[in-house]
Amino acid sequence: MSGNGEQMENAKDQIGFLKLFPFPLNRLGVGNKILFMVLLIFICYTILLSLVIGATSFNNLALVTKNNLERMATLLAGRIVKINAQSMQVAQSMETNYIIVQQLQRLINYGPYYSSDESLLGRPIEDSEVIYAFQAQMEISKQLLSLQTINALNSISIFLVSPFDMVHDAMPALTIHLDRKALFVTRFNQKGRAENPQVYRIALEKLIFPGPDYFDISSVYALPPEKFYGDHHFEMVVGVPESAVLSEKWNSPEEPRSKIIFRGGLPIIRNWYPVNVLVSNPETFMDQSVTCSMVVVEKVLDTEVMKTLKYDLGVDVGLAWKNTLLIASMNISGSRVPLPGNQTLVVGDRDYYYHAKPVRFLENGLSDFMVVTMSPISELTGLTKTLFFQIALLTGIAVLVTVLLIYVGIHRVVKIPLQSLMNGVKSIAEGDMTYRVHIHSPDDELGVLSSAFNQMSSEIGRKSIELEDVNRHLRSSIVDLRTKETDLSKTKNYLNNIINSMPSILVGVDQEGKVTEWNVEAERATGISAENAKGKSLNDVYPGLIARLEEVYKTMTEKKPYKAEKLMSWVDGETRYSDIMVYPLVTNGVEGAVLRIDDVTNRVRIEEMMIQTEKMISVGGLAAGMAHEINNPIGGILQSVQNIFRRVSVDFPKNVQTAQESGTDLGCIRMYLEKREVFSFLEGIRDAGQRAAHIVANMLNFSRQSHSQFTPTPLDALLNNTLELAAHDYDLKKKYDFRHIQIVREFSPDLPAVPCIPTEIEQVILNLLKNAAQAMMDANDSRKNPQITLRLYQEGKSAVIEVEDNGPGMDEKIRKRVFEPFFTTKEVGVGTGLGLSVAYFIINNNHRGTMTVVSTPSIGTKFSVALPIVGRSS
């Protein structure tokens, strides 16, 4: 949309006020601008509406609340009256309660107040009668306890009244009092008198009524009363609670009464009710209903009662006296809150609407008491807020829905046609002449505009298609040319890569013998780069080929390939071998040739070595045939010499003894032999015999491979054994001073037994040890202590034995030839030149292992022998 500058200008002029907004409103499309304005109007409307409704609804709610409070006050007054009536009913029910009436009769007829015989007046009441009265008190108390609990009364008291004025001091006297905490019973001491009674108290939680058959046992009536009270946890007290005191003079016991009194700041409903009981008239002996006791019931109007009422009515309630709130369902913390005239009052930090209504009680019909109903104003505020938010939410949703509908409408009627027209203009701007605007409704302004646009674009399209055809033709020609060019250079690279990847020297020459091609291998071998070589005469860049140039020209003229093998040359004093091939080239009449030169020195060496090996094997075959015949006599010679040395040795007692028996002395014999150099001759025989044995043994080694047996051998034991052999070896001992060489063993443990021919491996190792010893002797370097390190470890599937010395080492040329048969650096007669080649033969040929050597001049030499651990399959 931002692409259309003209439209933007118009929008700026028309709705400039949109600049007032912090975000770039003028970037919005026409449809979205209209939408935005509609949204704005609706939001203002919503806020206003919500405010008005909120204010109105608060006033309405207050009115409703006040009406409700008034109604509830009437109900509350009724409830309070009902509570009073209920208490009175409890007192009244005594008269109809059979058990209570019966027990009251017992108390009257047998208790202290009733006495038919005036002569008995003032006499002490007997123990059994006290207990009898107690029994009646217990029965009544049981009934009172349940009445108190059921009706939630605070106290019930029963006072005895003397019927027929039989008792002189006719003041009603307390006999039973029950409140929420304890039970009080009164005991009288003298017949016909209520003076100085004794009061006993028991806490309700300790109270256990005597069992039903307790009083059936006649013996209880013989108990002393004190013990009796004590056994039932009653304790004697002085005085009774305030609620058990009949504070007013009792004048007319016939009328029940009701009154609100104050005790401890709390209003209490108190009801008096005179109980009539059938009692025998002492004069007529007729049963007569007379008032003989009075019941006083108290109900405290405390916060708990108010709370209960609050739950019933649903508003806060209270009781006021003389325009002062005494008690309420909410906590007024004991303070007396005055009731102002404006129907609102403050409790704590909250404001309440209230309504007060006078309440009537039984006594005199008039009182200063009023019931009060209250409702916190904050509740109204809360309700109003909720209402406000609900209205706001509803209106908000309505606005959203409306905006959405308008949006859809605008989108369909204006935006889509406009958008497609715009897309059309864009497409033409981008060069797409085939684009046609879809006409949504052909009759309106947009429809007319769209069809005019379509006509215009098709005209432009036709022209540009013609132009494009020409262009396309030109372009494809260029592309074709480029592709061909790339293909060509690719092929060239490909060919160059192939030529350079060849391990052979490849040189191309033209008819004049000038270099045309010079590959990487040629650069490497000659040290002349391709750049320098190309265009020069082959003579100049490869002088080693001078002798062959004639062949090269011949090839070109005769167009026949030429091939020469194993041509010898001397490079740095070393003989090198190479194969040369010359191919004639015929391309478009231009003649030339390609030379391929391969260095085959290594291959030739191996071939020569194999030929040598073959020779050795045939020598071995011959040796094997005659070995038995030669070995026996050599053995005879060597063993005879050994026996001769022993038989003239002073170490054997038998020699000394035999010499004495022969009339001479072994010492003399030895002296003679020494003086006449017989020992030297004997040693000469031995050395010569050993040399002969050595040669035969070495020759035999070339024949042994097919017959020898492979035995799984622990190599560490074998190496130790070989070292021991070396220590005893005559050659090593005499010539190389093996004892002065320090032997270091580095054997890795847990190496498995390796299948091999132990004697052959021993021979190889012994040979390596000898070589090392000799090398170090020859060097005679006093700076270093001669040391041979013998290693044994596993590497992959091979067991590796290493023999490393710190001798003079050798240069590369000697190192390369060290395994060649009959190659030796030792002077004539010292070595046969067979030792290392035999060792190599044994390892490579007989054991299918490998033998390698690494050497650094003046540092040392290391021979490594690797033997396959897995057995030979053949």
Binding site: N631, N632, G635, S640, Q642, N643, A693, I757
Partner: protein, 132 residues
């Protein structure tokens, strides 16, 4: 006391070898008997028990391998060392079966006869059930 020294049979048809071995073993305090052929060797073994034998292989008549097998039958406790000049000697399976290994095979020429003494001593000392 001398009766307790081990008794060794030297079997070799080559006089100079046989004589040298006998002398060397005697000097090492072994009781030594020698035979020039397998047949005479077997006669000796039949007559008296031997602890060890140093046996040449290539012999006139019965060869050393055959002798060792027969001798083992006659005197199962006898131990054997093969001392041969044949370059292509291979221990036959039958001898491996009665306990011989390549360590008991010595090739001629033997430069130092102490190796034989050591091998024989090792063999005799090899644990075996006490006699009687």
């Amino acid at each position: 006391m001398i009766a307790n020294w081990p008794k060794v049979l030297i079997l070799d048809d080559d006089d100079i070898i046989r004589v040298n071995l006998v002398a060397f073993f005697e000097d090492e305090n072994f009781i030594v008997r020698s035979a020039i052929s397998a047949e005479t060797g077997l006669q000796l073994i039949s007559a008296e028990p031997f602890q060890a034998g140093v046996i040449d292989i290539r012999l006139p008549g019965m060869d050393g391998n055959g002798f060792i097998l027969r001798a083992h039958e006659i005197c199962p406790e006898m131990k054997f060392i093969v001392h041969t000049g044949s370059a292509d000697y291979v221990l036959p399976e039958s001898l491996i079966a009665i306990g011989l290994t390549s360590r008991h095979v010595f090739a001629k020429p033997l430069k130092d006869m102490r190796l034989l003494i050591r091998a024989v001593k090792e063999l005799i000392v090899t644990p075996r059930p006490p006699e009687g």
